[in-house]
């Protein structure tokens, strides 16, 4: 069925309005041509920055926003008069944000002039470290601060083991030109450890199936959107996502939300399906059961399954591809000629999906048949015990999803014909942050794949656009990003990455290891930890382990924006400038985890920020601090020095490469990046008038099917490489006499490494009688990724405190509270099955599943020198376990739906410290 469909095509309209005449050019052509012609002209019409009355005479200056952790930052305009920032508005040149700013961005001015910032270099005078200890900060000179840090690094280098230095970083580093990786490698340490991420494991499925860092979903064409434990945009207050979702819903897209709580998106949806926290995988497996066992196969995208996935590949008894003896290529079964052929044999008449075959004495089954057999037990009736979702709901939703995919439909974009599959299933952090999170990511990828809704218009997309579906020798998308396992190496790294080779991040394992390296076979410990743009205490499960570990580390330094929990354990603080006071650079800001429309899919940018005001206090650019430290510690210059690593990580061309023996500052390096990648006319001065250089993809190029159409690649829906990596890990562990990583029961570990997702049970089910609720957490529209001090910004917090009765509270279903003899504003201690606990005030509500206990946002900060408004509310992370057996050994996700019980401790509002 051929179908041509028009869309309002927001990116095209946006750029046409600005006189862009280069639509439809390739990315390379665009890069060569530079920004859209006419981009100098500010937006015509009523939208645009307006000078507040009485403040005329200043200047609007372009700048990045960066008040959240999203890599698709909205650029903005800052109004400055007499050196003071007086207003802030969206960037009329940013098609993806539509010139909008979210609530956090609107409050950016409060962040700059925040009196709780670190205002000068500081030295600790109290040697005792703890959350209750006053560090006794005294101001010191920059020279003293930098020399002290450099000396510590020099001493470590001289002792010959740079592994004793680690660097822990967070979202702040995304605007830097000196990457954490470059700094650590130049020094010789392997430890650039992300302080975030184990609470946000949203990468594994995308990196295997789409070859990308993240997922995104196409709401330009989707007519049906099923979301399980995630956000399209409104839940997290994303300006891009809210715009895209509002457009899609207005167009008539049906939205179905599976979530234990009635979220902002559920409120806008056609249907809310409340589910028990952590039951998402059972829901998804039951969808697969219905697709494979209850619907006729002709309802599925059989062409995609046979020609675009690895499901026809024959799987041997070892659970791996059965390879052709001569060529080594995976075999398939030609059901017409009744013989095994290599997957790319041009004589194949038809691919067998079912049956069992014997090839040269080896028994094999198509992966599709194995998948189908594995899903047999996961009936809609079975899933109900784990989800409380009625079986008929699963059947109806699955049928609706499959029907909405319009299998067989096509669409022509820029002359290229694509499958059109306007049905999206997405899952995210809320569902992936469980012990079975990786399986959930795989499972939703399979659901999408069975109707062909992968990397085509209307479907489930990878987060970046380009030739990312390149196949390996087996014809299947080669593993990229986190699908590539960490190489085996013993003794292991301090964050135990070798035991968990597909982990996103595992900082909490580093903190545990520091406390007991021998237990994990680690032969060294840390002498120094440097922290930047991260808060590894508050952003950690079991924060007390980070606290104990930091007490053991002899020297800690933080490039710090404000006094937080981690800075209380530091010996030196190097104060960092805010985004308004510093340079920033972000290339290809196209990482979006949420719903994307045409404007988001097609617009890629180089974003550059220049200081728009002088530093309000004695702060400096973080990148310049790294360069200073490297120079003073002796690893800036020469081959292998930081300059060389900057050349590598920024991919600087010969003409603009840093001389290895000169010292550069950030401004100069950004100038080189912009000229080198976008042409000489785009030096730093260009960014006096712009915060971005846009790069437009054609509509066709924004779907990765374009780069690898039919016959050119296959998506892995049978996770062969994953299983093989597990087998290699097993063999490596056996080589050192282990059946599983230290602390793990072997059976409990290896059940996570199967090539087909399966239900693995809940680790805490044995505690059900005593711990009768499951806790859960979510990001609110005011606390996206907990970046930019959103909790300490009074402009963000005041409206929430005044008009949102749910935030800062612990949400409990009204009926559940009544049964327990609890009421609204009852004060409770929440105790997790493994021993963690937190305290807070209940909010009874009809908006949450009866077995769930809801924690909105991020609260309960404990740093003494913080803004006191951040202390209020419960700290959910105190409920999260870091024990082996209680996190996902694949992604290293901590389980954010632990079993808990309530202990009443009184009544009343107010904070808990």
């Amino acid at each position: 069925m051929a179908e041509s469909r028009s869309s309002s095509n927001i990116a095209e309209a946006f750029w046409k309005q600005r006189g862009a005449d280069s639509l439809g050019q390739t990315a390379a052509e665009m890069a060569a041509a530079g920004p859209a012609a006419g981009a100098d002209t500010p937006a015509a019409g009523p939208v645009g920055p307006i000078v507040p009355p009485g403040l005329e005479g200043g200047q609007w200056k372009p700048v990045m926003c960066k008040l959240c952790g999203n890599k698709t930052w909205c650029t903005a305009r800052a109004y400055v008069k007499d050196g003071i920032l007086l207003s802030f508005a969206g960037d009329p040149e940013n098609a993806a944000s539509g010139g909008k700013l979210c609530n956090r961005g609107q409050a950016a001015m409060m962040n700059v002039y925040n009196p709780y910032r670190v205002k000068a270099p500081m030295k600790r005078t109290n040697p005792n470290k703890g959350l209750d200890e006053d560090p006794g900060w005294v101001e010191i000179s920059w020279d003293e601060a930098l020399d002290t840090v450099a000396l510590k690094m020099r001493e470590i280098a001289e002792r010959g083991d740079p592994r004793r230095f680690a660097h822990c970083f967070g979202f702040a580093s995304w605007a830097n030109i000196v990457s954490d990786e470059a700094f650590c490698r130049a020094f010789g340490s392997p430890y650039d450890i992300q302080g975030r991420g184990h609470l946000c494991p949203v990468h594994i499925g995308a990196s295997f199936v789409n070859g990308t860092f993240l997922d995104k979903q196409d709401v330009e064409y989707a007519n049906y959107f099923l979301t399980i434990g995630g956000s399209l945009g409104p839940n997290t207050g994303s300006a891009h996502g809210m715009r895209a979702v509002a457009r899609a819903l207005e167009r008539g897209m049906k939205l179905v939300v599976v979530d234990p709580r009635m979220s902002p998106e559920a409120a806008q949806a056609d249907e809310w399906i409340p589910i028990r926290p952590g039951g998402d995988l059972a829901f998804t497996l039951a969808m697969l059961h219905v697709m494979l066992h209850e619907l006729p196969i002709t309802d599925l995208d059989v062409r995609f399954i046979k020609e675009r996935s690895n499901l026809p590949y024959l799987i041997g008894e070892d659970k791996l591809y059965l390879a052709d003896v001569a060529s080594g290529k995976p075999l398939v079964w030609d059901s017409v000629t009744a013989e095994a052929k290599t997957f790319d044999d041009p004589t194949i008449k038809d691919f067998a999906l079912e049956g069992e075959y014997e090839i040269g004495g080896r028994r094999a089954t198509p992966a599709f048949a194995l998948l189908k057999a594995r899903m047999a037990e996961y009936t809609p009736e079975w899933q109900e015990q784990h989800t409380t979702v009625p079986p008929e709901t699963i059947r109806r939703v699955t049928r609706d999803f499959v029907a909405a995919a319009e299998v067989g439909a096509t669409i022509s974009l820029d002359g290229a014909v694509f499958p059109l599959r306007p049905a999206v299933i997405k899952s995210e952090r809320g569902a992936y942050s469980t012990t079975h999170g990786a399986y959930q990511h795989f499972a939703v990828k399979i659901v999408a794949g069975l109707v062909g809704a992968t990397d085509v218009p209307g479907g489930f997309l990878g987060s970046e656009q380009g030739p990312l579906l390149s196949p390996g020798p087996d014809g299947v998308v080669s593993p990229k990003q986190e699908a590539q396992p960490v190489p085996w190496h013993m003794p292991p790294s301090i964050d135990l990455r070798e035991y968990y080779p597909h982990r996103h991040t595992s900082p909490y394992l580093a903190w545990k290891t520091i406390l007991d390296p021998e237990k994990y076979g680690v032969d060294h410990n840390l002498d120094m930890l440097m922290v930047y743009g991260s808060n590894p205490i508050h952003s950690n499960c079991t924060p007390r382990h980070a606290i104990e570990a930091f007490k053991k580390i002899p020297f800690m330094v933080e490039i710090a924006f404000l006094y937080d929990e981690t800075s209380q354990f530091c010996d030196i603080l190097l104060p960092e400038s805010s985004i308004f006071e510093r340079y920033g650079l972000l290339e290809y800001g196209d990482h979006v985890v949420h719903a994307a429309d045409d404007a988001i899919l097609r617009t890629r940018t180089l974003q550059v920020s220049k200081p728009v005001i002088d530093p309000a206090w004695n702060t400096r650019q973080a990148d310049d601090l790294y360069i200073e430290i490297a120079e003073r510690a002796g690893f800036l210059y020469g081959e292998g020095g930081l300059n060389a690593h900057i050349n590598r990580t920024l991919d600087l061309c010969e003409e603009h490469k840093l001389d290895l023996d000169n010292k550069y500052l950030t401004a100069d390096i950004i100038d080189r990046v912009a000229r080198c990648h976008y042409g000489e006319e785009h030096g730093l001065e260009y960014f006096d008038g712009h915060a971005l250089i846009p790069e437009l993809l054609s509509k066709a190029q924004s779907y990765n099917f374009y780069w690898y159409p039919w016959g050119k690649t296959r998506h892995p829906l049978y996770f062969n490489h994953f299983y093989a990596n597990g087998q290699e890990l097993k063999s490596n562990l056996a080589g050192i006499g282990l059946e599983a990583p230290p602390g793990w029961d072997p059976e409990g570990f290896w059940k996570h490494w199967e090539p087909i997702p399966q239900w693995v049970g809940r680790c805490d089910e044995a505690y059900a009688a005593e711990y009768d609720l499951r806790a859960m957490v979510w990001t609110t529209p005011q606390t996206r990724m907990c970046a930019g001090d959103q909790i300490g910004n009074p402009w963000v917090r005041e409206p929430v405190k005044a008009f949102d009765p749910y935030d800062y509270r612990i949400l409990i279903n009204s009926e559940t509270a009544r049964r327990k003899g609890l009421e609204d504003k009852s004060r409770v201690r929440v105790e997790a099955f493994w021993g963690g606990s937190t305290e807070g005030v209940l909010k009874t509500t009809e908006l949450i599943h009866p077995e769930a206990l809801g924690f909105p946002g991020h609260h309960g900060f404990k740093g003494q020198l913080r803004n006191p408004i951040t202390w209020e509310g419960p700290d959910f992370n105190d409920l999260l376990s870091d024990r082996e057996g209680e996190f996902d050994p694949i992604s290293c996700a901590t389980d954010i739906t632990p079993r808990v019980r309530l202990v009443p401790i009184g009544r009343g509002e107010g904070g808990v410290r």
Binding site: P52, P53, K100, C102, A246, E250, M262
Partner: protein, 212 residues
């Protein structure tokens, strides 16, 4: 010319960007909210709904505040904006009591710093005390949403409209039959219609959102 606004409640997800944009644009001090988004719920589980209701001065055609004002400080301008002349406001608060929408705030005290006990930030100092604008957050006067009159005068939109990421707010001339706002107003409804003040801020799907 009658300025008016229609808020599409099916698009509003309660992110509060409008509230913060209003603060940023108008330098409203702590405790002063010209723009509010009330978050609440309707219905019983599982047929319950999370609701968000943005509200501010309704710029009524027959403003109760104007009638209550003893000094004539509150006036309905010819362009439809309900405006307070600070020079004539004596801070009696009658208008605030008369307003059915609780849109008015009486400044009993001079502005305080947001980061109390720390001092005013530089832009607070300028925004509260040093600029010569159409609104001053002075002690003893009433204030409320102005529809960002200063922006309208420069041909722009109110800050809350400009910033709404979902495009839930549509603003314009209700007297212009070709305007989007006039078209939407045909099917939109006011809050508290029974008060008879004839608001020019209207809502789509209001009854559903109020749980009727």
């Amino acid at each position: 010319m009658r300025y008016g606004m229609v808020i599409d409640l099916s698009k509003c997800s309660g992110c509060m960007s409008c509230d913060v944009a209003c603060k940023r644009e108008n330098f409203t001090p702590p405790g002063v909210h010209w723009s509010k988004v009330h978050i609440y719920e309707t219905g019983r589980y599982p047929d319950s709904k999370l609701r968000a209701l943005p509200t501010h001065c309704m710029h009524c055609e027959e403003p109760a505040c104007e009638k209550a004002c003893p000094t004539g400080a509150t006036v309905l301008r010819p362009d439809g904006v309900v405006f307070i002349d600070n020079d004539h406001c004596i801070g009696c608060g009658y208008c605030a009591m008369a307003c059915p929408y609780e849109a008015r705030v009486l400044n009993r005290h001079a502005p305080r710093p947001y980061h109390e006990p720390h001092d005013f930030t530089p832009f607070e100092q300028i925004g509260y005390f040093q600029r010569l604008g159409i609104v001053e957050h002075g002690k003893g006067v009433i204030e409320k949403c102005t529809f960002c009159l200063h922006r309208l005068e420069q041909g722009s939109l109110p800050a809350c409209v400009e910033t709404c990421p979902a495009g839930a707010r549509v603003f314009g001339d209700l007297d212009d039959p070709n305007s989007d706002v006039a078209e939407l107003a045909k099917t939109a409804t006011p809050r508290l219609e029974e008060e008879g003040t004839k608001p020019k801020v209207l809502y789509t799907r209001l009854a559903e959102h109020l749980g009727y």
